[in-house]
């Protein structure tokens, strides 16, 4: 069997399995991390399809920046439901969250 078809086959199987896992997993954080790795596999697929500009753009934008946006939003959506404590600060490790 030709080596090219083997690599392409493995890549396609990996992409489809990652896409299924990304949407079927229970934990949302795992889904976002799987989406970032799906973006990196897609970047390799662009290289296999003779599109190097798209590979650079997908690795930087599709995997990197989209992952950062999704993780930032995931963190915002995880705030606990409202209580009547008005002066508890909202802290985080290194990120820039303000105290109202």
């Amino acid at each position: 069997m030709e080596f090219d078809i083997l690599i392409d086959g493995c890549l396609v199987v990996g992409i489809l399995i990652l896409a299924c896992l990304c949407l079927a997993t229970k934990n949302l954080f795992t889904a976002i991390v799987l989406f970032v790795s799906l973006g990196l596999l897609i970047a390799i697929a662009w290289v296999r399809l003779d599109a190097p500009d798209l590979a650079i753009a997908e690795a930087a934008i599709g995997a990197g920046l989209t992952g950062a946006f999704l993780l930032a939003t995931w963190r915002q959506l995880r705030v606990a439901p409202a209580n009547n404590d008005a002066d508890t600060p909202n802290k985080s490790g290194g990120d820039n969250v303000q105290n109202p």
Partner: protein
């Protein structure tokens, strides 16, 4: 898909029933199989566009065909795309938050980048960033320059710069304020340069966006540089807005504050809330 979207994780109350899901899966599977069948059996439509691009590549000012198509042959699409990015930036801008209490010596809203002195020091991260951020900036400049002949260009370079900005914000040391004058200049310079070049060449050649042949390469480089700065600023503004959302009316402790294992499994939020309110408000 027509129910209200959920905001709590692991809340399976409003999920679609099993039969509906099976029906959707079979319908989409049948559609997919039909499409695969049709696409594999159909022949490649040979279009004349690649041959046209190859013929006129020498007149475009660059050697990379993708850059030539993006910035010379179909430059109107790129102009409108930068306009779309600016529209998203205008939507993000009122929602971005800047904390002027962190650095009281500097009045808020005047500087693009300000240093946060009260952030906890993280020596390995800062040591890494001292090397990494300049390297990313040099890499972005290289990617911009080499987009003329090799794979690269404005979008890749702008995304790299935005990545450097995201890293700088994540370290906690730097804070970006996008209502400053520098930021507004950076956000709009891409579109302004593109439109000015488009109208300016119309005075010479008579058609908007038709570069004169000897000026094509410098004009493309000028447009790409301005577009890089703009794209980086817009993507960084998007991350800044998404990461600094506050909740003005109700500030409550997040799930991360008490439990170190909050990332693994989502416990019911009410339980953590009971344990936190029992301890009283934090000063």
């Amino acid at each position: 898909m027509f129910k209200t979207p959920e905001f709590k994780e692991n809340n399976h109350a409003n999920e679609l029933p099993f039969a509906t899901r099976i029906l959707c899966a079979t319908a989409i599977g049948a559609l997919g199989l039909g499409l695969i069948f049709a696409l594999i059996l159909s022949e490649n439509i040979s279009s004349s566009l690649p041959a046209l691009v190859q013929q006129n590549l020498t007149q475009s000012g660059v050697q990379n065909p993708v850059t030539a198509v993006l910035l010379n042959f179909r430059s109107y699409d790129t102009l409108l795309e930068i306009g779309v990015l600016l529209t998203v930036a205008i939507a993000m801008l009122p929602n971005s938050n800047f904390n002027s209490d962190i650095n009281p010596h500097m009045p808020g809203g005047s500087r693009l980048v300000s240093v946060v002195n009260s952030a906890p020091v993280n020596p390995p991260l800062e040591a890494l960033l001292r090397w990494l951020i300049p390297m990313i900036i040099v890499m972005a400049g290289y990617m911009l320059w080499t987009g003329a002949a090799l794979p690269g260009g404005a979008f890749q370079s702008g995304a790299l710069l935005a990545g450097a900005g995201v890293l700088a914000q994540l370290s906690g040391r730097l804070q970006f304020c996008f209502t400053s004058t520098t930021a507004k200049l950076l956000l709009t310079i891409g579109l302004i340069t593109f439109v000015m070049v488009a109208v300016g060449v119309a005075t010479t050649t008579g058609v908007i966006l038709q570069y004169p042949l000897e000026l094509a390469a410098p004009l493309i480089l000028l447009i790409e540089t301005a577009a890089t700065l703009s794209i980086a600023a817009i993507l960084l503004l998007s991350y800044n807005t998404l990461a600094t959302q506050t909740f003005e009316s109700s500030s409550e402790p997040s799930v991360f504050d008490k439990q170190p294992s909050a990332l693994s499994e989502t416990s019911a939020p009410n339980e953590t809330l009971q344990s936190q309110t029992a301890e009283g408000p934090k000063p």
